[in-house]
Symmetry: C2
Subunit: 354 residues, 2 copies
Amino acid sequence: MERKEEEVAVVVENKQIIFKGYIEGIPTESDMELKLGNKFKLKVPSEEGEGGCNGALVVKNLYLSCDPYMRGRMRHFFGSYIPPFVPGSVIEGFGVSKVVDSDNPNFKPGDFVTGMTGWEEYSLIKKPEQLRKIQPNDIPLSYYVGLLGFTAYAGFHEVCAPKKGDYLFVSAASGAVGQLVGQLAKLHGCYVVGSAGTDQKVDLLKNKLGFDEAFNYKKETDLDAALKRFFPKGIDMYFDNVGGPMLDAALTNMRIHGRIAICGMVSEQSLSNPRGIYNVFNLISKRIRMQGFLQSDYLHMYPQFLEDVISYYKQGKIVYIEDMNEGLETAPAAFVGLYSGKNVDAPYLDVSKK
Amino acid sequence: MERKEEEVAVVVENKQIIFKGYIEGIPTESDMELKLGNKFKLKVPSEEGEGGCNGALVVKNLYLSCDPYMRGRMRHFFGSYIPPFVPGSVIEGFGVSKVVDSDNPNFKPGDFVTGMTGWEEYSLIKKPEQLRKIQPNDIPLSYYVGLLGFTAYAGFHEVCAPKKGDYLFVSAASGAVGQLVGQLAKLHGCYVVGSAGTDQKVDLLKNKLGFDEAFNYKKETDLDAALKRFFPKGIDMYFDNVGGPMLDAALTNMRIHGRIAICGMVSEQSLSNPRGIYNVFNLISKRIRMQGFLQSDYLHMYPQFLEDVISYYKQGKIVYIEDMNEGLETAPAAFVGLYSGKNVDAPYLDVSKK
């Protein structure tokens, strides 16, 4: 293909976070690498053909989300719903970006978009049809990194199938998903208890997010007993973000016709050699439905989600505790922190201030 | 209360199978005991008050079902959907009986009924409202011990949520539940593979029951590989009668949006110390629904079940392989055989020939 270069595009430096190679256990900072000094042209390349860029966008990334599911993409495993990262390439993730250049009639420079982008300052988006345009001024732009908010909304409404008065338990409750699940459940008239890994998070759940109760699971020697204390009548809905022993304890404490939404298993030390779940037999006697889900199966609900959640925010019925990390340099630590529980609630990277 | 005895009732001997005491592991014959020499009056006692018998029936038991769930009632555990057996008392179970005497306007001597009765020749039924009257001549009376047939029907239709062309796997496929699940799935246009524990059962599944494929799990060194061989495109519906390693292998081989009906866990050596299920994380990436159920939640479907299944039988679209054991004396061995897989498909006791 002939290469045309009719205009001189502005060339900038583009910091990136590079995925170094496949892992098995929990991620460490050394699995990622900050790469400096890349040249990046703020213009959609005009060449067509293989890997061509017809209809592409160049965006400036503003806010990037650190999400637990991303660990799954660090494994050398191709059977999942999303392929693994490519060693030596930039890490992909969900973010909020501003269009800088567009070869696509549906987007123009200055538009704000959310969707899959890269952990880098600027990205070339070859398939912008998977992005969503957003209108600023409704809620802070950074809130839109919470595509996970939609995970909470879809999982709570479609998998938990809540009824007013139901007892809800949510683990990793101060995380991006957990805090919204709990607040949606309160708005729905449910009794809500959350678990988290520090006293500070427990305080946040009870005093800022309006949970009925919360506990620090690291201070409990017997999770089964802890759940019995908070749910003497049992649990109707368990929104599981952690798997492992907490899932086992919840299985023992479910009520008849209980629902378990399986959203994440951050407690697993190794995805290749997972721990056993021992209390699955409870599914029979209590007729429990345990269901995994991905937000992408419920995209038809997204407009309703935005309308509801934006309205709740504006009315002050929902609060959102962010954990902002400034600059791409902070990305590896913020991501690794998801698994250590250290100072991380709903972490995202603010890369807007350049 | 005054005891009235206006007529001389016929008194007979009543053999019984007595539950000796609580167990933890798999049942053995010595956990039950044949008790002879009981006197039993073929007349509803007339006394009222505590334990009174107003509205009761006396029935002659004809066919009694040996069901895997009954092991759960041998445990000292009161948190289940059905209380444990009472040590020293007759074992309760599902059966087909003939009414001998009735103090209830809804039943008359000579009526045939199905429902919970005792492992004994004659039973006094104090709550006959839980029995169902049946019309003989439709299908053999012994077939009605298959309340489990309804378990298959309810689980297949309501939990598996079948679509034409779906791939179904059923374990313990030659059992009372499994054989009907597979045949209903074939009638629904599904591809059906079953597992069983002897070559004879495998032959039965393929050549008598019309399964597409079947395999002897005891001859497979790698259950995951076996399922990949029979389901190169994966499994849409797994009807699980065994739990344990087979459930783990199925979890690995499920397709996106697969459904797992959890019906029994006969493979568990000990219900108090169950083995772990290691592949639960597949629920997320494949959005699997795994659901336990009991037929009693679907009783509104029972008339439709009877109509469908009787019609299928009459048209020869469904066959039923029974494993009849004659006489109450054979009960302990038939029940224990459920867990060893020895010569037992859908065992029941014929106690009608006295």
